[in-house]
């Protein structure tokens, strides 16, 4: 008799707890992964596709699904990598594309026909100009995403390295990982 009671009691207990969990799953139901939205909010929304994904949202999805690393966003730079690392708990790594020097687009004005196609293509609105007038690039706004190059009908846009001026000159970066050599 006691065994029967124990069996019934345990079944009821399990059913009760199961019901509670089912209710909780319904009550706290969420559509999709909320992490994607948070990652997307950190990304700079330039939609430049330098990370290899068609835009910021697809890249956010790839990070959330552990398919992509957090160090692929070139326009976001170090700041975005650190913020993503805090959010996802992944380790901070240097930006992958930083090996290649930072470049910006330059429009050869004598070849520009003023077609405004590059203005539409620029994700950060760094190109100014109007129809039938030559365009030019606002250098410090350009992220170097190269999206304007394929759309230009006269191939008048080239990537250039920024010239060193008194305003942007910096000391060369120290060689090797920080702290190495200092200890020995």
């Amino acid at each position: 008799m006691n065994e029967f009671i124990a069996l019934m009691l345990f079944t009821l207990l399990a059913l009760g707890f199961g019901g509670l969990l089912a209710w909780a799953a319904k009550r706290f139901h969420i559509d999709g992964n909320p992490l994607i939205g948070q990652i997307d909010a950190i990304l700079p929304q330039t939609q430049c596709a330098q990370c290899g994904y068609p835009g910021c949202k697809p890249y956010a999805e790839a990070i959330a699904n552990d398919e992509a690393d957090i160090n692929l966003c070139v326009p976001g730079g170090e700041t975005v990598v650190i913020m993503l690392s805090e959010l996802t708990g992944k380790e901070i790594k240097p930006i992958e594309a930083e090996a290649k020097p930072k470049q910006f687009a330059f429009i050869k004005e004598e070849e520009c026909i003023g077609c405004v196609k590059c203005i539409a293509a620029c994700p950060v609105d760094a190109i100014i100009g109007a129809a039938k007038f030559t365009h030019t690039v606002i250098t410090h706004e350009c992220t170097g995403c190269e999206l304007c190059i394929p759309v230009c009908p006269t191939d008048c846009i080239v990537m250039e390295e920024p010239s060193v001026t008194q305003r942007n000159w910096q000391w060369p970066k120290p060689v090797g990982p920080i702290g190495e050599g200092a200890r020995k």
Binding site: N2, F17, L21, A24, Q38, G89
Partner: protein, 192 residues
């Protein structure tokens, strides 16, 4: 009142579950690499411990004892703990997705964390009432969180220290844990 303070001090410091009773060592070693996630894990465990202590007490006092089926208590407590953890996981995923992603695998692992089953079984053994059981669970969780946070901050500093090659990684962590345990033995004379 003194009873409450006694239970809290006793569980947090004197009879600390991790360093004196040696329960819950798996997350103690596993989640203590970063202070942030250690704090999150400590909070989650405290929450689960308090809730499962109270719920297990109710299950024991109002279901198992009246029907004279106390031999079911271990399996019934495991069921209770699993439910509380499942509930916490679902709720946390909605309310704090960041903490959810930080805790990751460790949140469901609270289910099999022996500290939780240990606390609810000791509750029965010591014949605590509802308030005492809840406090005991809360104190155990707080002690766990405290020790985990201390240990994680220690490990963060050890990570950048000049540790001999033979001691690097888990070895130095275990040595640290041992020294911490000895330090906590010093609290033994605090109460009574």
């Amino acid at each position: 009142m003194s009873d409450i303070i006694f239970i809290l001090i006793s569980t947090v410091l004197v009879n600390n579950f991790v360093l004196v009773k040696f329960l819950g060592l798996c997350p103690f070693m596993g989640v203590s690499k970063k202070a942030d996630s250690a704090l999150g894990m400590g909070l989650a465990t405290t929450f689960v411990l308090t809730l499962s202590s109270i719920l297990s007490y109710l299950v024991h006092a109002y279901l198992l004892v009246p029907f004279d089926v106390e031999f079911l208590r271990t399996v019934a407590f495991i069921l209770t703990i699993a439910t509380v953890v499942g509930f916490t996981e679902v709720a946390m995923r909605k309310l704090s997705p960041m903490l959810y992603s930080i805790l990751g695998i460790y949140l469901p692992l609270i289910t099999t964390n022996c500290i939780v089953l240990g606390v609810v079984l000791i509750n029965v053994q010591e014949q605590h009432n509802l308030l005492q059981a809840g406090l005991y669970g809360f104190g155990a969780g707080t002690g766990f969180a405290l020790v985990l946070a201390l240990f994680a901050t220690l490990r963060e500093r050890i990570a950048v220290a000049d540790v001999p090659a033979a001691f690097q990684g888990s070895a130095i962590a275990l040595v640290t844990a041992g020294i911490m345990s000895m330090a906590f033995m010093g609290f033994a004379g605090l109460v009574k």
